[in-house]
Symmetry: D2
Subunit: 112 residues, 4 copies
Amino acid sequence: MEDLRSTISAFIQERDWEQFHSPKNLAMALSVEVAEIVEHFQWLTEEESQNLLPEKLAEIREEIGDVMIYLTELADSLGIDPVEAAKAKVAINGQKYPAEVLRGKASKYSEY
Amino acid sequence: MEDLRSTISAFIQERDWEQFHSPKNLAMALSVEVAEIVEHFQWLTEEESQNLLPEKLAEIREEIGDVMIYLTELADSLGIDPVEAAKAKVAINGQKYPAEVLRGKASKYSEY
Amino acid sequence: MEDLRSTISAFIQERDWEQFHSPKNLAMALSVEVAEIVEHFQWLTEEESQNLLPEKLAEIREEIGDVMIYLTELADSLGIDPVEAAKAKVAINGQKYPAEVLRGKASKYSEY
Amino acid sequence: MEDLRSTISAFIQERDWEQFHSPKNLAMALSVEVAEIVEHFQWLTEEESQNLLPEKLAEIREEIGDVMIYLTELADSLGIDPVEAAKAKVAINGQKYPAEVLRGKASKYSEY
């Protein structure tokens, strides 16, 4: 992660793009890149989404890369490590969605 | 990352949620979580987005955690490591957007 | 539509919210409201999405209302009528995706 | 609106696309089209977003058309009229966000 963070940071600085990369704009760019993942899946059945052709998978891998880049940069601009934030959130979710209560249900916390 | 991946995987299995977590559905959930980040920024100026209050920042950290969780799980379901995918994509972007040509411009590749 | 447009415009003015409602911010708000629709569908099968319970449908109707409100306001801020824009786009799409070629295929224009 | 609804419906039937257009999939497609609007605004300042060049505006008009098409089709598949849903939601919002309390504040209902 530290590698990735510093590579992205150098990439942005070399292009003088810090001026455009406010957290607000990075959040927008993140949402646009996620939509490029969604676009690959929109007309597939769930089963098809589990059995992608290699060339489709390669395209989605690039989109996942783009999402990870913007997530890392957004988080970095706010002094946050996304992997640490995820670990902390898994712990919170473990309390919000107790395994014994929710087994096999997709219901959200607010609905059960 | 490997830590995070296996923690999420165990979390899902304990709740029998694999049945809901097709790549298609995970892509949708990822887009929903990203929108929860965007929601925090939608009415802020760019400058305000760079000067968040601690409690707002703590909320956004949780949303970033959720996005990272779904991104990791989606990538894992496709056999992809998001950090490796991001590093590979930074290299591709370096060729698509050469620093000497694009310095200070937000133009996309297709526009210059 | 003209009714709706002027009702929304009055609503915003009464609250002095024009200052926040730049096209950029309205585009963000639109994406957040669409995600609230997506959230209702993310764990449903396609078949379940075609057979919603009345209370779920009522909630989605409210979200569709919110999306339509922001779409109308965004379009209005740019001098665009969304219904006219849609009619014009259907005509363009009719040429991009000829019925006789694409019957029964979800492929995008760029893929066939 | 009724014109638009029936034109879209004929367009889909001529291409045998009903099979792909479950409400779940239409919600995904709607989110993808909204992201294409957001993409136009992501690196602009709010002020720039209020002063678009004619060719940019023409592109955004097409994207607004696409969003309106999918919103109409999604709503139609659920038996909902999006304009009526919006009018009903403006009335609800009028009670949730009273003008006299919220004038000039972007705060959401839940925050004041």
